[in-house]
Each structure stands twice: as C-alpha cells, then as structure tokens.
Subunit: 218 residues, 2 copies
C-alpha cells in the first residue's frame, strides 16, 4: 500500500502513533473482509490483526461498518494518488470529451484489475447487494461522489456544445460506467482498454445508423 | 407463483408426484436463500421446508448450487410465461428497434421490482460477486442466454439498416441493460419506465451533439 505523503511540519509523536494505528486498522479491516467476508468480520478480529486494543477502534468509529467504509475511502484515495500524484479530484478537461472519458475509464480498468482493490471491494459490494443499509452507505460515500465527477465533465461538455443540451448527465454517464461495473461485478465479460474505449464511442455517437432519426431527441 | 400449463395428456401418478415435489423443492430453495442467504442455505434445510427426504433432492441434483440454479431458471420461465403467455423466447421485431427495446426493458423493470423475484435474486447475485464459480454459472445459465436475445435483435436491426454495421451487438446491448442492472444491484438510482426509455434513446442516438463527429466510427 502506498504511504500518504507526510506533512511538511513534523507531527507530534502522539499524532504519528495515531496515524500508524489508523493505517494498521484500515489494513486489517480490508484484509479481513476480503478473507472472511463482511458478515464474519468483527471489531475484535480487526483489533487483533492490527495489534491494537478494541477500545482504540471504538474511540474512533462506532461500528465495523464505519471502520470498513473509512478504510475503503482511504484505499480509493491511495489508489487515485498512486495513479496521478497530486491530481485534482476531477476528470481532465482537454476539450476532447471522448479522449478524457477514455483516459479515466482506462485508469478505472487498472484499478478494478488490481487484487489489492478487487478482493475487499467485492466483499463490500456483495454485502451491499443484500444489505440495503450498507449498500446505500457504500453508494453515498464512495460510488456517487465519483459518478458526480462525470456529471461535472458532461455538464462542461454541454456548455462547450459537445453534448446535446437535452441530455441528463447523471443518466448519460451510466452508458459507459455501468457496463464496466457489471462486467466486473458479475463477470459477464472481459475488461480491457479496448472495451472501455468502445463504450465511450458508442455512448457518444449512438449505435443507430446515421440518418435513422426515428427517435432522435432534443 | 403461476402454475405451468398441464400437458394435454394426463401424466401418470408418479410423474405428477415428482412434479409436485420438484415445485415444492424449488419454492423452498428460493424462500430459504432469500431469508438466510446462500451460505446458510443447506440441502437439509430445503428438504425439511419442502417436506421431502434429503435423498429425493440428491436423486435429482448433485449440490445445493444445482438446485438453486434450476430453481432460478424455473422462476425466470414462470415470470416470462406470466408476462406473455405462450410467448417465444425472443425480443419482438416490429421493425421499430427503439419501441421493441423499450417494451422489453419495461417488462424487466416490472420483474426487478417484484419481491418474489427480487429477494432470492439478490441473494444469488451477492454470492456470485464473491464466489467466482457460482457467479460464472449464474451468468452462463441465466444472464447470458437472456443477453443473447438482445444480440439477435440488434443483428436483425443491423440487417435492416437500423444499426451501424461496425457496431458489436454484444457490447452495444450493455449500454441499456447494464445501467438498469447496476441501479437494481447497487441501488445507485431509481428504476422506472421513463428511465429505461431514456437509456434506449441515448444508446441509439448517442449523447454527442449532432455534427460533433470527432470520434464518429464505422
């Protein structure tokens, strides 16, 4: 796992100790949920594996769901930082929407195929499918914020005249994001750069033959 | 649950008894997996709930995975038969691709929102996310055959000049099927007829502004 860059000013010893415990707890939580699943992961198990007392965990988090959610947010931030150090949390805007979407989806392909990400993510996603409360928190805390980056990029493209004004960006993004998500989650097909490039081309240009304007909309 | 139409010629008593047991076993398997999840569902539990001996189940199926998979195939067939009695297993071809896709997706919306379907389907889908063998069987036996119906319909539309010749139908169908699947599985947004109609319009016509042909492909 990539280390976060340390602050320029040295932190006091107690802060550094806390940071070290927090990292150990996140690592233990992600490893455990990947190995035994969400149901069988416990605060006790996380504490034992991280080498901290149970009370250390309860001081910072109310439940195992909270620890795990924070551990995933941290994992995603680490992955993003490793892919593009110091990057802004936005989809690049080079003025070429297709190229920008393809670049971000290729980075997502790399992330989905990374075992450090895949194993715990599958465990949390599976729990979210059957456990509505966990599912909704997973979406609100992790999935929706990243989807909103596509909304912003598509809105900018509408402003630049690249996307039709009548299109709802929140639905439009699903044309390329959801196929990749389903192939990964349900293993309905292979995942590659060529595949995500194709999704972007189809979503932007449509699959209908040119001039077949039967259901052309505003 | 809808009864299958009985054969015109009366079946012998032993066949009718077998059919009754088979239905009871399917019903018990689906109810149990919805209540306690895939992991905790056992052949013993299914047998007890169905009021049959364990050996009756083992005579017909090798494992709980086999029973459940068959129970789901049967559930899907019952749902399809209830929606359109005597229908062919094909997507209608009225010559209007958009209308045909919208009609099928509206029927899928109804199925996904039916609790009799939703609860056991979520349990099996969740297991498939973390259990690769179950996931792959679920796709091969249930998901991919229904996706192939879209492939056939899109191929016919290519033949009729409605869809661009260079488009890969197996990828193209994901532009409208996968968003619905993800909203259902991960609860990333509401599901409605208006939503699936919009997906079809976007997928056919694209979201790019007309004349923005930067990445127009063959």
């Amino acid at each position: 796992m990539v280390q976060k860059s340390t602050p320029a000013k040295p932190a006091p010893d107690s802060t550094r100790r806390s940071e070290k415990s927090r990292r150990a707890i996140y690592g233990a939580a992600l490893a455990l949920v990947g190995e035994v699943g969400y149901q069988k992961t416990t605060i006790e198990g996380i504490a034992a594996r991280a080498g901290v007392g149970k009370q250390t965990i309860y001081r910072w988090w109310a439940s195992k769901g909270d620890v795990l959610m924070e551990a995933f947010v941290d994992l995603s931030e680490q992955a993003a930082e490793a892919a593009q150090p110091g990057r802004q949390y936005a989809i690049p805007d080079t003025g070429d929407l297709a190229a920008d979407l393809k670049a971000v989806l290729r980075a997502t392909v790399d992330e989905l195929l990374d075992p450090a990400f895949e194993v715990p993510s599958r465990a949390l996603a599976a729990e979210g499918v059957v456990n509505e409360e966990i599912g909704r928190r997973f979406v609100a805390r992790l999935l929706e914020p990243s989807l909103q980056l596509y909304v912003q990029r598509l809105r900018a493209a509408q402003g630049a005249g690249e996307v039709r004004p009548g299109v709802d960006p929140r639905i439009a993004l699903e044309l390329f994001v959801s196929p990749l998500a389903q192939r990964w989650l349900q293993r309905t097909g292979p995942i590659s750069y060529e595949y995500t490039d194709t999704l972007v081309d189809y979503a932007l240009n449509g699959i209908a033959a040119p001039g077949d304007g039967k259901s052309r909309i505003g």
